[in-house]
Symmetry: C2
Subunit: 198 residues, 2 copies
DNA sequence: TCAGTTCTTGACTGGTTCGTCCATAACACT
DNA sequence: AGTGTTATGGACGAACCAGTCAAGAACTGA
């Protein structure tokens, strides 16, 4: 009954993500996004409300997709749990090293810029982090069932440690650490995890 | 021979740091800083050049003071090296947890916002991180000499790991992790460091 | 006391940016 | 085809902001 949208909302969100990711929230102009997507500003505002709401959409999407991706990497049977954990940790190091533009992770960047003054962003980041920790914890528990990690260790605490290492790798990557340093951190972190005595 | 400055440069830098730290670079207005310091904009520009230069000054100062502070915490004799390391790691966790405003560390926040597009900031962050790693490495080597950490471990790699954990604690704190989680991470990280076999 | 120099103040400029508005376009249903 | 509804695009308004400038103030050394 009404004129249909000519643009794909998904695509606009992806483009907006790109802009916010590379420039940050404050430094990205709505007009940049309009030009990059080919939309007029009217359409942009009509469809998403405003800059803040658009960012919230983008940020929410991004957090969800990160958790999804990690979930795909870590879920599986007990036998491969340690291998999955190892692959994940190394993948984060490799991805961070490959990110020559040093944009890091939008979750970290957005939280750093806005969490203090934007409760919505703060809350979303918190739930994403909690989800990531839970995924790690489940995988570590699987490692323990399979005898790859000491059974008497607290999987929640090890998961928190691994998560801190992963976020730390991101942070160091943004500060310009070399690929070698990052992969060393990944390797060392996996090496110091408590193995079962035999 | 000329009219003397009425303001203390140090104090202005501290106030500017406060503003940049809490609002980020892009979202902080020079007029905010002028008002907060009581200076007119002309004085501000006359003394510091411009927004970017002022931020560079502030950022450089901050990086230096962080490295200094850590240096004071970590330098000392071999006998207390592990205790100093432990105290430092726990201090970072406690400070992060106490930072209820979640502003995190200006080094991380500034790098996150600007490193991608500002080579000066990127370089300064890099040298600060390298200095921190060196301090940790020296302390860990001291631990090894004192028999608190396995002598066959690579102190540089352990230092990189510890640094990643510390930066990760900061990042998780900003994302809203609880004090308990953060201190658990600190405790667990220290616990998994390789001890000498005896 | 006076001259020379630097500092201060705040109004002003020019450019930028968020968000709005409106005339027009595109479609669905009758 | 006609009508109602929603999308489009870009001009526009209002606020904001970095940086400048000029007139006057404060101080020192002569």
């Amino acid at each position: 009954m009404a004129r249909p949208r000519r643009f794909d909302e998904r695509q606009v969100l992806d483009t907006a993500r790109e802009r916010f990711w590379s420039g940050g929230y404050a430094a990205t102009r709505m007009e940049d996004i309009a030009e990059a997507t080919g939309l007029g500003k009217g359409s942009l505002y009509g469809a998403f409300g405003g800059k803040q709401e658009l960012f919230h959409r983008v940020f929410d999407d991004y957090c969800g997709s990160v958790v999804d991706a990690v979930s795909r990497q870590l879920r599986g049977n007990d036998a491969d749990a340690f291998e999955r954990l190892s692959a994940h940790v190394h993948a984060v190091a490799a991805a961070t090293a490959a990110d020559t533009a040093h944009r890091g992770c939008l979750l970290a960047k957005g939280a750093a810029e806005l969490a203090e003054h934007d409760e919505t962003v703060a809350k979303r980041a918190r739930t994403a982090i909690e989800a990531l920790q839970k995924l790690l914890e489940d995988d570590i528990a699987a490692c323990q069932r399979n005898g790859d990690i000491a059974a008497d260790a607290d999987p929640g605490k090890l998961a928190a440690l691994v998560l801190a290492v992963l976020r730390g790798i991101e942070a160091l990557g943004k500060a310009g650490a070399s690929e070698e340093t990052l992969t060393d951190i990944a390797r060392t972190a996996l090496a110091v995890l408590p193995r079962p005595a035999h």
